[in-house]
């Protein structure tokens, strides 16, 4: 229901997040499986053994590096999703705005009230002071 309301680009973005997640996990798994397979060494080859060993070493390195890369990519994905959520979570933003505005409104009312009472006090005092001042000799 909610995803239906999303625009095309947002939909695509979410989809890309999903595919990224799947790709990364898949890549981790596949690379691991491959490493295991290589470690078994059951493949028949026409290369010389030394070359084969060298190739296996290299392949294992690359695959393990791939796993690490996939892990970091997952971290990046997490941070991207966080960012996306923060930037597009309008209900929570609205809530924050309402809360803020409520806070400021109460503050405003408070200030107004204080100012009003201050003004009334000052006006009363000012009247007395003016009275006193203009009656006195030391003007």
């Amino acid at each position: 229901m909610t995803s239906r309301a999303l625009p095309q680009s947002k939909e695509a973005l979410l989809k890309s997040y999903r595919t990224r997640l799947k790709d990364d996990v898949k890549s981790m798994l596949e690379n691991f499986e491959e490493i295991i397979k290589v470690a078994k060494g059951e493949h028949d080859t026409q290369l010389s053994r030394l070359t084969q060993c060298e190739q296996d070493t290299y392949e294992m390195h690359v695959r393990s590096a791939n796993i690490v890369r996939a892990g970091e990519s997952l971290m990046k994905l997490v941070s991207d999703i966080k960012q996306y959520l923060i930037l597009n979570d309008f209900p929570s933003v609205n809530e924050a705005i309402t809360q803020n505005s409520k806070l400021f409104r109460t503050k405003q009312a408070e200030c107004d009230q204080k100012l009003m009472s201050l003004r009334d006090d000052m006006a009363a005092d000012l009247y007395d002071l003016e009275e006193e001042y203009y009656q006195s000799i030391n003007k």
Partner: protein
């Protein structure tokens, strides 16, 4: 190039290689290679690179020849600047393709089976293979562990630095207070007042980036002196980049100037008195607020400048640079200036403190006016039809059903501009100051009737009210003259004791004269009221006495009082200029009578005798009324 050097052929030794020497000294030779074996061996030794190189050279030559022959094509291709690069890339690509093919062919048995060349049998033991695999696995594990360690440390870093909030938490806080959106890879924010109804053209976009780690680490050493005291306060994980035109500090200065001297000045600075330094490690909230303030000031000044140019004033407003000069009253100008200092470290020279009085009312109202405009832009009066245009006021919408005529409609289109409003407010401010000044100086000058003024608490930016009471000390109950003054924008409205309304212009002298006039009236009325309580009779009184020396400020006021028995008459004349009190006394009949040729009988003395001046300054009494009371009392008792 080693290819160009001379080729040396080395023939194979005639003897075969020794394979084994048995304990008894018999050497066992390797069996000689068969023909096919030796062919394979030699074929293996062929350096294919050499031939390909030659081929390439040949091809190049062919191509050159071709390009020479087909000059047009070559001309076109050589025109293209990246041609050589493209060619090289293409060659490289081809070679890579070939290499890949060769590798595939070599590796897979599908295409070709490589016949292992009979070589020195280097049989590797299975253990070696296992060791190699173990080593490879260890290498792979190391890579994995290193990656995991990196992730772990980065997580720990975050957990350890709890004092520095996480980037995402900071971003969330920022999002709660500011508008943000994501554009491709950047996070762009908006600090303009556009959502609040501003229509200012300048955009207030800023960019949010993650603060660089190395920058965070690198900044403390760069500023060791201030940083030494506060290493515990790390900078935020967020970095906000603000366009250069919004950096710094801005405020709007309002000055009311009389020719060259300042009457009052106001500084509008939304951030209050605090001079926010625009140093780079300021918290983003303050940074953004400062930028927003700059934007607001710019918009305000822009609006004012536009209006100043458009308005048709009798004395045209001047807009020079960042300054607007408008005349509010003859000889008095208002100067509105935009002050914007882009670099916070060099403080703008502020000579304003010497000018003293800051009028915060003007500061506030300028602020308020633009906010009101913003508010009006977003808040349209309800109800309005869903299909109708936004903008027309409620009054205008009612114009149709209420059948408004042309003048009413024209009236609705008139809108007061910000500049007009601020000019009116400053005019009013000035008028209020002048009125207050006149009242205070008069109260100081004039001791006898007391002038007390009470300013009304409730007033608007363009109207205020002052209540003046003229009374004599000790005789408040006998007579007091109240006076109400409405201070407007360019005029004063005085409501006198008798309900008369007088409109005065902005000249303070007029107001002064009016007060003097009321002082004289008060004195005369007070004397009469006093006389009434003393049992004296008021014979006549005139507020505008035509006789006597001409007064510079209007006419003198006077009255005549008769004693209860009617044999004494007191004449009081009060001139508008203070101190012009003249009191004369006449006795009728005089106590002694000597018939003369003109006045033969005593009865004629009842007509009244000569007036003799009373020297008031020699009399006892605190003030004029007191003296009059004493005088009347003495005259009554004498009879």
């Amino acid at each position: 190039m080693s290819f160009s050097s001379v080729n040396i052929s080395v023939e194979a030794p005639i003897e075969n290689q020794i394979q084994e020497i048995s304990y008894d000294g018999i050497e066992i030779y390797q069996p000689p290679l068969t023909l096919s074996e030796s062919l394979a061996k030699y074929a293996q030794k062929i350096d294919f690179s050499k031939t390909t190189d030659v081929d390439l050279k040949k091809e190049e030559a062919v191509e050159e020849a071709k390009s020479d022959s087909d000059s047009k094509d070559a001309f076109q291709s050589s025109l293209w600047p990246w041609d050589s690069v493209r060619n090289k890339l293409r060659n490289a690509h081809q070679e890579i393709c070939v290499l890949a093919d060769v590798l595939t062919v070599a590796k897979d048995k599908r295409y070709m089976v490589l016949d292992p060349v009979q070589r020195e049998p280097l049989e590797t033991k299975p253990m070696v293979q296992i060791y190699a695999r173990k080593k490879a696995l260890a290498g792979a594990a190391n890579v994995l562990l290193a990656g995991a360690e990196k992730l772990k440390t980065s997580q720990n870093e975050v957990a350890r630095n709890r004092t520095t909030p996480d980037f995402h938490i900071e971003l969330l806080r920022l999002r709660q207070n500011w508008r943000l959106k994501k554009v491709s890879n950047m996070i762009i924010g908006d600090l303009s007042y556009r959502t609040a109804g501003s229509k200012f053209m300048q955009t207030g976009t800023f960019e949010v980036t993650k603060a660089e780690e190395d920058e965070k680490i690198g900044s403390p050493p760069s500023s060791p002196l201030p940083g030494g005291g506060q290493p515990t306060k790390p900078s935020s994980a967020l970095k906000v980049t603000i366009p250069s035109e919004l950096q710094g500090v801005a405020y709007i200065e309002v000055l009311c100037q009389k020719d060259t001297e300042d009457l009052c000045s106001a500084n509008i600075n939304l951030l209050g008195s605090g001079a926010p330094s625009s140093n780079p490690d300021m918290h983003w909230q303050q940074k953004l607020e400062a930028a927003q303030n700059v934007l607001f000031c710019k918009e305000l000044f822009n609006q004012l400048a536009k209006e100043a140019v458009q308005l048709q004033a009798p004395i045209p407003h001047m807009v020079v640079g960042n300054q607007i000069v408008a005349t509010i009253l003859p000889g008095i100008q208002i100067i509105i200036a935009l002050r914007h200092s882009t670099s916070g470290d060099k403080k703008p020279e502020k000579p304003t403190p010497s000018k003293g009085e800051h009028d915060h009312v003007l500061e506030h109202s300028l602020h308020q006016l633009l906010r009101e405009v913003h508010h009006k832009n977003t808040h349209h009066p309800f109800p309005h039809p869903a299909t109708g245009p936004l903008g027309p006021s409620k009054k205008r919408m009612m114009a149709g059903p209420m059948a408004a005529d042309r003048y009413e409609l024209l009236d609705m289109t008139k809108q007061e501009t910000l500049l007009e409003q601020i000019i009116k407010q400053s005019q009013h401010c000035l008028m209020r100051m002048r009125t207050g000044y006149v009242l205070d100086t008069l109260a100081k000058e004039c001791r006898d009737p007391l002038i007390s003024s009470h300013w009304n608490t409730l007033n608007s930016p363009t109207q205020s009210c002052v209540k003046i009471n003229i009374s004599t000390h000790g005789y408040d109950a006998v007579c007091r003259t109240p006076l109400v003054i409405h201070v407007g924008e360019k005029s004063l409205k005085c409501i006198c004791r008798d309900g008369k309304v007088m409109n005065l212009s902005y000249e303070p002298q007029e107001f002064r004269d009016l007060i003097f006039n009321h002082i004289t009236q008060h004195q005369i009325l007070a004397v009469q009221a006093l006389a009434k309580t003393m049992g004296w009779q008021s014979l006549a009184n005139s507020n505008h006495l035509g006789s006597g020396p001409v007064d510079p400020l209007g006419n003198a006021t006077s009255c005549l009082l008769a004693s209860p028995t009617g044999d004494r008459i007191i004449a009081v004349r009060c001139e508008a200029q203070y101190g012009g009190m003249q009191v004369s006394v006449a006795h009728s009949p005089r106590s002694d009578f000597f018939p003369s040729r003109l006045v033969t009988e005593r009865k004629w003395e009842h007509l009244g005798g000569q007036f003799r001046d009373v020297r008031l300054d020699r009399m006892e009494g605190r003030n004029f009324l007191h003296k009059m009371e004493l005088l009347m009392a003495s005259l009554t008792s004498n009879s």
